[in-house]
Amino acid sequence: MIQFDNVSKSFPDGTVAAANLSFSIEPGEFVSIVGLSGAGKTTIARMIIAEEKPTEGSIVIGGWDISNIKNSEIPVLRRQIGVVFQDFKLLQRKTVAENVAFALQVCGAKKKKIQKIVPQVLKIVGLEDKADRFPDQMSGGEQQRVVIARALVHRPKILVADEPTGNIDTITAHEIIDLLLKINALGTTVVLVTHNPEIVNKIRKRVITVDNGTVISNRKSGKYTL
């Protein structure tokens, strides 16, 4: 499903964010990418969604080599990959339902389809009763659920979550992880980028540990080892 082959990424200022990264993620897997701050975890997430292009090597997603993806093809890729970020990225002037619907509206979905999908994804994340609330009327955990709901509207095959628990308390963080596990159980490949050892150790799924832009361990049922 996701194949990194000798992927390197360096920035114009000389920073090396990835050096000869090679790993693969199979369909339906739940993989945690862990590492210290600045290890290159987020760069991996950004390369999966083509926010960054590798300097060297190849990235293949679902048989599609996206290493040199054209700008016009990026939207096609993004509709197949849901993205969740630490900073939520919700529109404060829109309600929960409107925020979720926005992702469909800007992709040209018809009103009927939007009216059908939005309640479905809100139900998956347990927010069906809070559809008319605004983000500032909700807790951090609830806002992250809205983000996850928005990421699910295109029924993505892959969900990339970059530090989804970074801005929320421990109990709520576990709820978010449970939600991601539930989504994974429904067949979606989940790539979780985190530096939270407690979470990684609890879920006991595959762990790829990154340090200085390279993979230093890749375990099927791993623990946070740094």
């Binding site: 700008n71 990026i74 096609v76 993205v83 990225k89 992709c107 018809k110 928005r150 295109h154």
Partner: protein, 304 residues
């Protein structure tokens, strides 16, 4: 496709509404630009009309000695007709001149009675020469003065109409150039202001744009609301300018028409007759300025 167009239009209208004051200021400046350009274009059209009207009235009148034979006059007519610069040469015989004189003074029985006392050949035969281009008159006059026909002519009237036209033309040219200069300054100011307006709109929508990119909106869908907003600014400016011009011409037309009395020229009628072209050019011009400026801002600040 229809859904996409409808949504981008809605987003564009929202953008306009959210920055309402900024949008109004931008439209106002665009109105100044389109107004000055339209004024210059209008001045040019009016000037051209005046020149054409005056040109139509300009000709060379050659009055022959009363003793000149008709055959010599006809020979002179053929001489002028052979010149490629000459458009028309009208021969007015002595009899025609007398008839014309009588018809003009039909209400003056004393004058007519005194004419009857005189010889029929009292009025001279003449040639009325007109050209396609007013600039050809000097060449025609020169060739005439060098020809043998000069001695047959008692009086030649090629008064300084050309000088008058030259002066009008020069004044219009200067006004046109100054107007174009002022318009160019307004165009530059408008481009900068629209650029800034769209830049601020992009800035105030950076979160939405970021989310659009993340969830897979196409590049055209992200750009389209800004381009449409630019086009909307241009359209509003063009329509307002047209309305101002319509009212301005409507109310000043009687004064302008009376100023050009005898020339059968009305600026208002001219603009009404050429309405579709004027409206089309006005809208196309304003939208072009606006959209070009928007595209520059988008290319610079909207990284998709």
């Amino acid at each position: 496709m229809f859904v996409g167009i409808a949504r981008t239009t809605r987003f564009a209208l929202n953008n306009f509404r959210r920055n309402l004051w900024l949008s109004f200021v931008t439209v106002f400046l665009l109105i100044l630009t389109t107004f000055s350009i339209t004024l210059v274009a209008g001045l040019n059209v009016v000037g051209q009309q005046i020149i054409n009207t005056v040109q139509d009235k300009v000709d060379i009148d050659l009055f022959f000695h009363t003793y000149t034979n008709e055959s010599d006059v006809l020979e002179a007519q053929a001489f002028f007709k052979s010149m490629k610069e000459v458009d028309e040469v009208i021969y007015v015989s002595q009899a025609d001149a007398m008839e014309r004189f009588r018809s003009i003074h039909v209400d003056d029985p004393v004058l007519i009675a005194s004419l009857d006392e005189l010889d029929e050949d009292v009025l001279p035969a003449s040639l009325v020469i007109s050209t396609n281009d007013i600039a050809d008159y000097p060449a025609i006059v020169k060739r005439f003065e060098e020809s043998a026909f000069k001695d047959l002519v008692e009086e030649a009237d090629y008064s300084d109409n050309q000088v008058i036209i030259g002066r009008i033309s020069h004044t219009i040219d200067v006004a046109y150039q100054v107007g174009m200069g002022v318009s160019a300054i307004f165009v530059i100011i408008s481009v900068i202001v629209i650029f800034n307006t769209i830049r601020m709109t992009i800035y105030s929508h950076r979160e939405e744009v970021g989310i659009m990119k993340l969830v897979g909106a196409t590049n055209w869908f992200i750009r389209a609301p800004f381009v449409l907003e630019g086009a909307l600014l241009g359209l509003l400016a063009a329509l307002t300018t047209l309305l101002i011009f319509y009212l301005m011409l409507y109310f000043t037309d009687p004064a302008i028409t009376s100023f050009f009395q005898g020339y059968n020229f009305s600026v208002f009628s001219f603009f009404v007759q050429n309405g579709p072209i004027v409206v089309g050019l006005e809208i196309a011009g304003a939208i072009t300025i606006s959209v070009v400026s928007t595209m520059i801002a988008i290319t610079r600040y909207l990284k998709v």
